[in-house]
Symmetry: C3
Subunit: 352 residues, 3 copies
C-alpha cells in the first residue's frame, strides 16, 4: 500500500501525485475500519512522539491530531504558545529544534504565517534528521490535511470500499465564500482540480479575484498551469478558463450551484467586515448563504461540506447544516481522525 | 454488580434510586482497592475516548476526571475554552457534536450555565448515539459526582467493606454556608435525604431561604415531595418540615451543629459580598465558621467535609481543616477518583 | 546501581555526594540507550502518576519532564496555574495536598518563589507519605535537573560509556552572564565545584558580586566552605579564592575564557535592563557575548552550553550557536530527557 509513498513531510498539495492521493485515501479507509471497533487503537507508533506545535491555537484541529496520534499509540506533546519561550524571544526554528532534540519523531505545525511549516521542514532536512513535518494550517497558504479529509469524505461516499481520486472525474464541485483568505480553499483547489472535477469558485468580488489571479500567476510561473490570465468577466459572472485543471470563477452563487454534486462553503471570518471587504453578515447570507431553496439549483443528490466551525445562518442556514440528507459536516470531522492517522502512519513508515 | 444500572448519562441525582446509589458505592469501593495497588490501572476502557469539555475551567475537578479515565486506560481529550472555536462563534452543541464525530465515547461537561450537560445529553439521544454525558457541575444546578464522592467518603467511613446508602439512616448531617448558590448542596440534598439522614441546612437568610422555597416548590410541582411551604420561622431558627425527606432549615449555626454526625461546609464565593449578600468574611466566620469550640456542640465523633478549595479561616478554622481527627477533606479528594472511575465504568458498561 | 541512592526528593544540589552524582549520570546513560531505540519506552513507572505542578509556566521544561514520565510509562497530570484554584484563593500547600490525595506518586514543581518545592516536600514528609518532590526551578534559588543535565552533557562527551563526576577534575569551566539572578548558575556551582573543576564566573559587576558574596557567606555559615570573604579585586578582575571548591570571579570575559574547556552562557532576562542593572543588549554583547573571535582564547576543543532559550546575538553570536563543532545546546536538550527519566526512576525506586 505504501510503495508509492516517499514523503517525510506533508506541507502542501501542490505537487501531490494521483498515486499519493489514492494511497492516503486507501490508508485512511483501513483506519476507518479500526475506528469502528470498540477498541479503536493500533500499536503502529508505539513509543514514538508526535509534537503538536500549534503556534496559532485551535482546539478542534489539535484534538483531531492528538486523537489520531493516540490511536496509533504514539505519545503526544502539546505546545501552548501562550506559556512558551516564544514570549521570551526564542525563534520558531529554535523551538522546533528543541522539540527535535527532546526526541520528537513527527511535528504537526500550525502558524498564522504562511511558510512556517516549510521552513521547519527545510531545517530538519538540512540537519539530516528523519523527522516528519505536517502542515496543520499556515496563514493563508495551505491546510492539506483538511483538503484530504474533504476528499476522503467525498470519495468514501461515492465508493465506501474503494475511495479514489478518479471517482470525482467530471463531478461539479462549488466552493463558496471567502476564497481569498482561505487556506482550506487553496489546498482543496489542488486536490479537487487534480481529480478531474469541475471546480467552481463563488464569492463576492472582494473575496475572490485577487486569489484567483495570484493562483494562476503563481502556477504559471512555476510551469504548472497553462491558464488564461484574463480577468473574470463580471457581466457574465462566469469565466471558464482554458486550462487543464477545470477551474471556474463566479461573482454570484447561482452559476456555481447549478447542477453541483458537492457544495463546499468556507468559514466567514467576521474580521473581514471590519476591514471593509464585506457588507453585513445578513447581506452576505442573502447573496451567498446556502439555503434549502437555493439547493434546488443543485443536483438532487447534492451534499454540503464545511470545514467548521460554522457560523449558523451565515454560510449555511441552520436547519440545512443539521439535515443528514444534505450535510456531510459531521462525516468530515470523523474523516479527519482517519486521514490524520493515515498521514502520520505514512510519514512514519517512510522513515524505515 | 451492574444489573441495577441502566443510565448512559449522569446529570442529576434527583431521580437516583437507592439501588443506583448502592451500585455506585460498591463499584467505587472495588476501584478503591485498585488505587491502593502500586500499579493503579485497569484495562476497562482501553481504546475508548473520554472528552473533558470544561467550558468553565477547573484544574482540580478536571484532573480528578482525567486521572479516573487514565486509570481505566481510556484516552482523554481536554477542551480548553480559552483557545477554542467558541470564541469563533460556534455553539456549545456544535462543539459537543464535533467531539462526538471524532469518536468520543463519553463526555464530562462543566458549564457555568445550568442545563448545558442535559441539553448535550438530549442531543446525543436525539442523534441515537450511545455516548454518555456526565455533569461535572452546571451553574447553580447540580454536581452529582461531588455528592456521590461525599456519600462514598461518609459511607466507607461507617463501613469500609460494605458502603451503602442505608448506613446514613437517622444520622444528622449539617450543610453550612451559601446553600443558595451551591450546586454541590443541591446534589447532596438529593442523596443525603434519600438515605434517610436528617439534613440540616444552615446559613445567613440571604443565602438560604430562597433556595429552600425553590427546592420545595419545584419538587412539589413534580410530585416528589409533600412539603410544607411555610417560610422558616426566624424566631425559633428551626423549621422541621412534614415531609418524607427529613430536611431542616436554620438561620443560625448552633441548632444545625447540635449532635451532628457530619458537618459539610460549602465554599464561600467571595463574589457574594460584592453583590451585598454577605457582610465581611470576618463576620461570616464569626457567625458560620466552624471552629474547634463550636465542634463541641456536635457528636463526639463528628467529621468535617468541604468540597474544596477551602478559604482557610473563613468556612473552617485553618487548624481544624488539617486535623485528621475531624477533617475528611483529603479523603474526599481520594474518593473522587474512585467514584469517577465507577461512574465512567458504569456509564460505559451500560452501552454493551 | 541504586545502592547509593536514598532520596525521595531532589530539591537542591547543595548536599549531593559524588556517589549520588555518579548514580544519576550512570542511570541517565542507561536511559540514553533506551532513547536511541525506535520504541523509546520502558514500563518502569507503569500505573504511577507524575504531576507537573508548574506554578510558573514553562513549555520547554514541562515538555521535557512530561516526555521523561511518559517514556517511563507513567501517567502525567499537568497543572495550569491560569485556570486553577489558586485564583480562587487556595494555598499552594493545599493544591499539592489535593494532588497527593488524588494519588500522585511524584510531583515536579516550578514556582517563581524560592523554597516552594522544599516547603511542599516538608509537608509530604510531615504527612508521612512517600511522595517524591522534584524542584524544576524555584525563583533564584536552584534548578537541579538543569545542572545535572549540563553535567551529563559534559561528562558523556568526555566518556560516552562511563560518564562520571571525576572526569571534570581540573577542567576549566566558565559561566558567563547574569549569575546574580540565575538558579541555573546556583545549581551548577554546586555540581561543577564538587567535581574538582575550576569554575570561573564572569559578568558585569551588577550581576556578579552580590551573588558571590551571598554564596560564600551562606555556605561559610553552614560550615560547608572555608572561603575568603574579601571582595573581588576590580583592578585585576581576578579573584582566586583560597577554598576547597575552586571558584573564581571575573568582571571581564577574557580571564574566564582563557584556555577554558567549557563555556556556559546564561540567559539574559531582558527585564534586567529596565531595572538599570544592564546597559543595552548591544553593549552587553560587546562586553560578554561569545563570538568566534573570543573563542580563540579558549582551549581548541572548547564547547559551549546554554540552558535555553537563547537570545541569539546577545549571549552567543547566532552562527556559533548553530555550529556543531562548538555548540552542545541541542545535546543539552536531549540529555534533559534522559536525566529527568533517571531522576524520576531513582526517586521512584527509593520508595520500595
Amino acid at each position: 500500500m505504501t510503495d508509492t509513498w516517499n514523503r517525510h513531510h506533508v506541507l502542501s498539495l501542490a505537487d501531490f501525485t494521483p498515486d499519493e492521493y489514492d494511497t492516503v485515501l486507501q490508508t485512511a479507509n483501513s483506519f476507518r475500519e479500526v475506528l469502528s471497533r470498540r477498541t479503536k487503537k493500533v500499536p503502529t507508533l508505539q513509543g514514538q512522539v508526535v509534537a503538536n506545535l500549534f503556534f496559532e491555537s485551535s482546539t478542534r484541529t489539535r484534538s483531531s491530531f492528538e486523537l489520531a496520534a493516540k490511536r496509533l499509540s504514539a505519545d503526544t506533546l502539546n505546545f501552548a504558545p501562550g506559556s512558551s519561550s516564544l514570549t521570551k524571544g526564542e525563534t520558531i526554528l529554535d523551538t522546533a529544534k528543541t522539540y527535535l532534540a527532546m526526541g520528537t519523531d513527527m511535528m504537526v505545525i500550525r502558524h498564522r504565517e504562511a511558510g512556517v511549516p516549510q521552513a521547519i521542514a527545510n531545517e530538519m532536512d538540512r540537519l539530516g534528521v528523519k523527522v516528519g513535518v505536517l502542515n496543520a494550517g499556515d496563514g493563508q497558504h495551505e491546510h492539506p490535511s483538511q483538503a484530504l479529509l474533504d476528499l476522503f469524505t467525498i470519495t468514501t461516499l461515492l465508493d465506501p470500499n474503494q475511495p479514489q481520486l478518479s471517482l470525482l472525474k467530471d463531478k461539479k464541485i462549488a466552493i463558496v465564500g471567502d476564497i481569498l483568505h482561505s487556506r482550506v480553499a487553496r489546498s482543496n483547489l489542488w486536490s479537487l482540480t487534480a481529480s478531474g472535477a469541475e471546480v467552481h469558485l463563488a464569492g463576492p468580488p472582494t473575496l475572490v479575484p485577487q486569489l484567483f489571479a495570484d493562483f494562476v500567476k503563481e502556477n504559471k510561473d512555476k510551469g504548472r498551469l497553462k491558464a488564461s490570465s484574463k480577468q473574470p468577466d463580471s457581466s457574465s459572472n462566469l469565466n471558464p478558463l482554458a486550462f487543464p485543471r477545470k477551474l471556474f470563477l463566479h461573482w454570484s452563487l447561482e452559476p456555481a450551484l447549478r447542477n453541483a454534486d458537492f457544495v463546499m462553503t468556507l468559514r466567514l471570518q467576521k474580521e473581514r467586515m471590519t476591514s471593509h471587504l464585506l457588507p453585513s453578515l445578513r447581506e452576505y447570507h442573502q447573496q451567498f448563504g446556502i439555503t434549502r431553496d437555493r439547493l434546488k439549483l443543485c443536483h438532487p443528490n447534492v451534499k454540503l461540506l464545511h470545514p467548521g466551525p460554522v457560523n449558523r445562518g451565515v454560510e449555511i442556514s441552520s436547519d440545512l447544516m443539521d439535515d443528514p440528507q444534505f450535510s456531510l459536516i459531521s462525516q468530515q470531522v470523523t474523516s479527519g481522525v482517519a486521514v490524520r492517522m493515515a498521514l502520520l502512519y505514512l510519514m512514519g513508515s517512510s522513515k524505515v
